[in-house]
């Protein structure tokens, strides 16, 4: 089971605007992205995220896992998440 950490100095607005204070970079998240990023901030692990999203949204867990991996990969590239 994967766990993640989020840098301390990240601010996310409800509209999906993300500010990384350490570098001054800004990012945009879509609605789903915002929701998941907030889950990561709240310390949810991979499995918990998959369970919550698939319970609420019209998507199977297999398909969602693929998108989540892809999303996490992008977040890692941007320094917005670290895998433990």
């Amino acid at each position: 089971m994967k766990n993640f950490t989020i840098p301390q100095n990240v601010a996310v607005s409800d509209s999906g605007f993300l500010f990384l204070a350490s570098t001054g970079e800004t990012f945009n998240l879509n609605e789903q992205g915002t929701l998941i990023y907030k889950m990561l901030q709240n310390g949810l692990n991979n499995e918990e995220i998959v369970n919550q999203i698939t319970a609420e949204y019209e998507i199977s867990s297999d398909l969602f896992q693929k998108d989540l991996d892809d999303f996490l990969h992008s977040l890692k590239t941007f320094g917005l998440v670290k895998e433990l």
Partner: protein, 453 residues
């Protein structure tokens, strides 16, 4: 299970400060969810994906508009449908119902037109490759034979005397209209006097009936002035024939070449913003022909063989996302089920591609690839698209010209083609190919019929 929320793939995009963000801040691409009032999803469900969808209403409306524009500028106008542009029977039939003749460039196309019921006298037979047998059939049918070279001219002189029949002929003229590259491969050249020479040879031949002049100055012409130049040169030839030989031509055929609203590769602004209007092309042609100064009843019929301008925007290709990938540079890539095998015009055009379903406001820089497992199979290198997922559909627009004739049976077989009729019914006008159809002409030698693997 019930009433779950609509899901969109999660996306994060970096904002670049200092200039407007390319992604996220643009207006969302308009989804195309219906075609002529029919749901895209319903079409794909009934007929599969990929699927070509042609609108009868749009064809008729394009042809009527073109008729109106030309007929209000020149007294006698006749369109001839360019078969090579799209020779599906249903498409040709709509044009013929609208009064268009047939313009063909091979025996195959010629036979197609005849089989559809077009009268021989209403078939224009163009092209550099007409066999003796082809010419015999055309002479017997009274078709209009447009001579491309001296070998064909002498073959016709010989053939008509052997058959003891007259042939209705015109010559194809090529000329400098100020555009590059010059199209001097087809027909007889105006500037170097070759066209005159050919006309004189025809007049001297007892069995050749000189009925017209033909030119086709290029395709996707972007300057109306080129047509004016061409029409003036054609008028000079026609005036010379009257003056020196007392010959009044039945017609001057200005060919095709008017652009469609597709945007060329390498063209920065969308086609709609930079191309002359149909009215401007019609003005140029009629102004050029009016230099003839003939009596009204002596003016030749103006024939037009416009292809892409009349059919491109009547057809759409529905395609489905097979996979969503990320390229090594971080760009999004879609693999879709229609590739360059179906979209030959991709080699000239940046096709307009829209999503076929509502999507969120987030957009991504997206590359779109076809299904071919070949590097050439790229439909778009970089497009701003909404966040799409497997199973979503795209509408590739303006695909009516030169695709349903130049498509390749390569790796995949050709899919269904439907036409939405004026009353809203959807007719299958070309069935998807199957293995039996594709293999029908193949012959497997006996000794290969049992294989050890």
């Amino acid at each position: 299970m019930e009433n779950k929320k609509r899901y969109e793939r999660p996306v994060v995009i970096k904002q670049y400060s200092g200039f407007m963000n390319k992604f996220g801040s643009r207006p969302v691409l308009n989804p195309v969810t219906t075609i002529d009032g029919i749901e895209v999803d319903e079409l794909a469900e009934r007929f599969g994906s990929p699927l070509f969808v042609i609108s009868e209403k749009a064809i008729r409306s394009n042809q009527r508009k073109a008729n109106r524009i030309f007929k209000t500028r020149y007294p006698k106008v006749q369109f001839a449908w360019s078969y090579k542009t799209n020779y599906l029977n249903a498409v040709c039939a709509v044009f013929h119902q609208e009064g268009s003749w047939a313009e063909v460039v091979s025996r195959f196309e010629y036979d197609k037109a005849k089989k559809l019921g077009v009268k021989g006298e209403n078939i224009i037979f163009n092209g550099p490759d007409k066999s003796r047998d082809d010419l015999t059939v055309a002479i017997n049918d009274g078709a209009k034979i447009h001579i491309d070279h001296f070998d064909e001219l002498y073959e016709l002189i010989d053939l008509t005397s052997q058959l003891n029949k007259k042939a209705n002929v015109a010559i194809r003229v090529n000329m400098d209209t100020g555009t590059y590259p010059k199209w001097d491969r087809f027909g007889f050249n105006f500037e170097n006097g070759e066209a005159w020479q050919a006309l004189k040879r025809i007049i001297a031949a007892t069995n050749l009936n000189l009925v017209g002049l033909h030119t086709h100055i290029g395709t996707y012409m972007m300057q109306a002035d080129s047509y004016k130049t061409a029409a003036i040169k054609m008028a000079q030839l026609a005036a010379g024939l009257k003056r020196e030989n007392g010959i009044l031509l039945d017609y001057i055929d200005m060919g095709g070449g008017l652009p469609s609203n597709n945007t060329l590769i390498g063209q920065y602004l969308p086609a709609e913003q930079i191309l002359p209007t149909l009215e401007e092309f019609a003005d140029a042609i009629s102004e050029g022909l009016m230099t003839l100064n003939f009596q009204p009843d002596e003016m030749p019929l103006l024939i037009l063989e416009s292809g892409r301008a009349l059919i491109d925007d009547t057809s759409k290709l529905i395609s489905t996302v097979i996979a969503v990938k990320r390229l090594s540079d971080g760009r999004r890539a879609l693999i879709v089920d229609a590739g360059v095998n179906l979209l030959f015009t991709r080699f000239w055009y940046k096709h307009k591609i829209n999503p076929a379903q509502d999507s969120g406001v987030m957009t991504e820089d997206t590359a779109i690839y076809g299904p071919l497992c070949m590097n050439i199979d790229c439909l778009a290198e970089s497009l701003v698209m909404p966040v799409l997922k497997k199973g979503d559909k795209l509408i590739i627009d303006y695909v009516g010209a030169y695709n349903m004739t130049q498509w390749m049976q390569f790796i995949h077989m050709r899919p269904n083609v439907v036409m939405i009729l004026e009353d809203g019914t959807v007719e299958l006008i070309r069935k998807a190919e199957d293995l039996d159809y594709v293999q029908m002409p193949e012959v497997l030698p006996e000794k290969f019929k049992s294989l050890p693997v």
